[in-house]
């Protein structure tokens, strides 16, 4: 491996752009998106420079120590697979940023939106480049969290919030599964990074825990890459602004699961589990996704469901795992990212310019939006797998792979799925543009440059990649497939078929079925809708039911434990303390002996007496206020005792705490609707008295038992010896607080502040009154 430190900078550059985005958006307006798009573009160029080296079999790495004590590094690795993804993420990303600038123009939170987009880009780039296993997990979670922010960007709408939450719950669960998977794999093999893991060969496959690792990896991959029945979050995520869908839900986020499977293929693949479960789920996802896509009329939803289908296809091919199948998978992954990103952007442009994206309410836009139409057509040709786009090359390759493996059922599923996607693709690309003009909510016209630049360029790249099939195969597909296989691959990709092969015949079959489906779209839509209505339940409803069940369960538990009666809470707390203090001593028979009575001077006796008087006064006080003040007397007495026995710091603090607690208790009393006097029935009084005695007595006995043991002076000696020398302070207590154990104190003051915030919130709650804001409170 060659160490290239700039990779670290390149991988983290999107995060810098994320910080700059809001300021630039405020300062530069329309130009901001172009300036910001330069960041991913520069990263793209930098990574493109690695292509020849990677194609020659080289691997590049960079990293810094993160938690050296645990062997965790922030480290990145560039091989064929990660390079392919990195190029897609940054290349498409640059156009998405430009597109987002046009799409969100004039939006009050456009800067925030760009920040989220860049945060996601950084997380995604980190995910595919990560070498260290913990780095992989952290960036994986990063994509889940940033996609939550992006899907819920329009947070005032309930549907957005629900979709964001659903995506977070499903992909977040997958993230935990990934953490368990990498920890377990690390335990088994001793590897801390992907490159080490990939070098372990059969270690995972021969392990007893193989199935556990395999299932955990599936849990991560299937949630992220939306495999049936966990696919529901992806269509719902269409609530996000279109640039998000065009980026996350075509080329990046949803491919993370496929990336993980491909990455793990050399160490987990080629077992019965792998070659059975993956193709079965993949094929099911392909068919279900494509059928559901036929049912939709919303352009974005049609595309979302075909994305689900495509992800199924990729998982299926990865599961088959032969060289030809992997070449097919990698080619299709590349082609899909290009055409799906373009089609999403087209859908967004149509929505933006015409005011609707319902395919039944659109038509005849070809004159108003000619450039968009051309871009849509080019992308759809690629999606349908027609020459001369790269989608055709990819489809031929994947048919060849499935044909080679001899798994006819999978081949049939692929043909059917592709035919369905053919039909959906042309519905998206043709229906809105052809036919008579339909009146749309907005008067449609060609969008600005920002909105059509992306689709056009992605279409051209798809075309160029096909025309230069040989170079694409050598420089992009071969290194990627090689990384997935764990051995060099020689892809056979052809734009012009060399003979009448099975794939070619299957392509013709696909086109024929696809055309029939296109023509019968209306009937199929009705048919699928009818079937779904007949079933009446789906994973999406299931999600709502699970969430509702969880809420109901938690409110039942809350109702059981939180009665809302302060009296009960305090009783339970004190009772628990008494039990915790007394029971262990009783069980282990460790009650302290009677301590020797120390010789006391007269003034020490006086203070002790004062304390006792305060205590008795609390008990016999007739009003609550008297009781509170008497409690203060007792506390002050204890503070004086601390002072006399050589703990001035403690004593000081005790004085102040007593003072403030008397003040605060008195103030609280005046706010509570309590009588001036305390009227408790005798029985309750006796029960409370017994509780108080048990707790107080228990605490006293624990303290006595503690001082019976000879005092361990090691810590005392250490602090006395060193506080002056290394921490430059004579007050050992203070030195411990601010220096030796400063991190503890930091945590404590954070807790103090949080507690203060909570108390403030509680104090300000008044039934039926609006709560004033902090600012209003300051002004009053």
């Amino acid at each position: 491996m060659i160490t290239e430190d700039w990779i670290l900078v390149a991988a983290l550059a999107p995060f810098l752009a994320a910080v700059a985005a809001p300021f630039l958006a405020a300062a530069a307006g329309r130009a901001a998106a172009f300036l910001l798009a330069a960041v991913p573009a520069a990263v793209f160029v930098a990574f493109a420079g690695l292509v020849p080296g990677v194609a020659a079999g080289e691997r590049y790495a960079a990293g810094v120590d993160w938690l050296p004590a645990w062997g965790v590094r922030l480290s990145f690795m560039v091989d064929g697979l990660s390079l392919m993804f990195a190029l897609l993420i940054t290349g498409i990303g640059a156009f998405i940023i430009v597109y987002a600038g046009g799409y969100m123009k004039g939006h009050p939170h456009a800067g925030r939106f760009l920040t989220f987009m860049f945060l996601f880009m950084g997380a995604m780039l980190g995910l595919v480049l990560a070498d260290d296993l913990i780095t992989l997990f952290v960036f994986w979670e990063g994509t889940s969290i940033t996609s939550f922010l992006l899907i819920g960007f329009d947070h005032a709408r309930r549907a957005s919030r629900r979709a964001a939450l659903q995506a977070l719950v499903i992909t977040g669960a997958g993230g935990l599964s990934l953490l368990a998977a990498v920890l377990l794999a690390g335990q088994i093999t001793g590897a801390g990074s992907l490159s080490e893991l990939l070098a372990t060969g059969d270690a995972l496959r021969s392990s007893d825990l193989y199935v556990a690792v395999f299932l955990l990896v599936l849990g991560a991959a299937f949630t992220k890459s939306a495999q049936v029945p966990l696919h529901v979050w992806l269509p719902n995520a269409m609530e996000a602004p279109t640039p998000v869908s065009a980026y996350l839900h075509s080329a990046t986020m949803v491919k993370a699961g496929v990336y993980l499977l491909m990455r793990m293929n050399p160490v987990l693949g080629d077992t019965d589990w792998w070659t059975t479960i993956l193709p079965v789920f993949g094929a099911a996802t392909l068919i279900v996704g494509a059928l559901l896509a036929m049912r939709q009329t919303d352009l974005k939803l049609m595309l979302a469901y075909t994305t689900v289908a495509s992800l199924g296809l990729l998982v299926m091919l990865t599961g088959v795992g032969t060289e030809a199948a992997i070449v097919g998978a990698v080619s299709y992954l590349f082609a899909h990212s290009l055409f799906k990103g373009a089609l999403f952007m087209v859908a967004g442009a149509i929505d933006h310019e015409s005011g609707t994206r319902d395919v039944t309410r659109l038509g005849g836009l070809r004159r108003a939006m000619p450039v968009t139409f051309a871009a849509a057509l080019v992308a759809a040709i690629s999606m349908a797998g027609l020459p001369v786009m790269f989608g055709f090359v990819a489809k031929e390759a994947l048919y060849l792979g499935l044909d080679d493996s001899g798994r006819t059922a999978l081949l049939a599923a692929a043909v059917l799925g592709n035919a369905l996607m053919f039909a959906v693709g042309f519905q998206v690309a043709l229906k809105p543009f052809l036919g008579p003009e339909v009146k749309t909510p907005k008067h449609a016209h060609e969008g600005p440059f920002e909105l059509w630049a992306g689709p056009v360029v992605l279409g051209l790249v798809g075309l160029g990649a096909a025309l230069l099939t040989y170079q694409t195969a050598e420089y992009l597909i071969a290194p990627t497939a090689g990384a997935v296989l764990g051995r060099p691959a020689i892809p056979e990709l052809h734009l012009i078929p060399t003979y009448i092969s099975t794939p070619l015949i299957l392509s013709v079959v696909t086109v024929v079925i696809g055309l029939l489906l296109y023509l019968g779209a209306r009937q199929i839509r009705a048919g699928v809708a009818g079937t779904l209505a007949a079933i009446g339940w789906g994973p999406d409803r299931g999600f709502d039911q699970a969430v509702a069940g969880l809420v109901a369960f938690s409110s039942a538990v809350t109702g059981l434990t939180q009665t809302g009666r302060m009296n009960r809470y305090i009783t339970v707390t004190i009772l628990a303390a008494a039990v915790a203090l007394l029971v262990p001593m009783a069980v282990y028979d460790e009650f302290p002996g009677r301590p020797p009575f120390p010789p006391l001077t007269i003034y020490e006796w006086a203070i002790l007496l004062l304390t006792a008087v305060g205590l008795v006064a609390v008990l016999i006080a007739r009003t609550r206020l008297t009781a509170i003040v008497s409690l203060g007397i007792q506390g002050f007495g204890v503070a004086v005792l601390f002072m006399l026995f050589g703990a001035p710091d403690l004593s000081f603090t005790q004085f102040m705490v007593e003072t403030l607690s008397v003040v605060i208790l008195a103030l609280v009393m005046t706010r509570l609707a309590l009588g001036e006097r305390d009227h408790r029935p005798t029985g309750e009084m006796a029960w409370h008295g017994a509780l108080a005695l048990a707790t107080g007595g228990g605490l006293a006995m624990v303290l006595l038992a503690a001082v019976e043991v000879p005092f361990d002076r090691r810590l005392t000696d250490f602090f006395e010896a060193w506080s002056r020398v290394i921490a430059h302070g004579r007050n050992v207590v203070n030195v411990i607080i601010v220096d030796f154990r400063g991190v503890d104190t930091l945590g404590e003051i954070a807790v103090v502040m949080i507690a203060g915030l909570c108390i403030l919130a509680l104090v300000r709650i008044k039934a039926g009154r609006r709560i004033p804001s902090l600012r209003e409170e300051t002004r009053s």
């Binding site: 102040m656 706010r671 430059h728 007050n731 220096d739 930091l746 502040m753 203060g756 104090v763």
Partner: protein
Amino acid sequence: MSTLIFRTLSPLVTGLILVFSVFITLRGHNEPGGGFIGGLIAAAGFAIFGLSHGVARARQALVFHPLVFAGAGLFIAVAAGLASALFGRNFMTGLWAYPQVLGVELAISSPLFFDLGVFLVVTGTMSSIVLALEEREGGF
């Protein structure tokens, strides 16, 4: 509570208490004291002022909401901890400097700023609680 004597004396007392609280905080490293106890003392001062002159006047005198002080204190404490990173040392490693100011040697250190952060957090939190509790119709 708002007797004439109390109203007249309380600004003086509050001022004294605040000066004392800072004094206690600063001497803490070598003598009994420190940020925590200093903060409690200062909060007691604000509590007295709030009782005698009303919470509105106390809030005016504070300019910012007390929790702003607490937040600033937490920020200072964290910053004091992070300062050592500038010198390539571990988090919260103490940094010390002894500049001569007007012929007197001053010990300036990151634990000092940390302690000031503690002081502000405790002052801010406690006074915000006390003032919020004192704030009610009719006075106390």
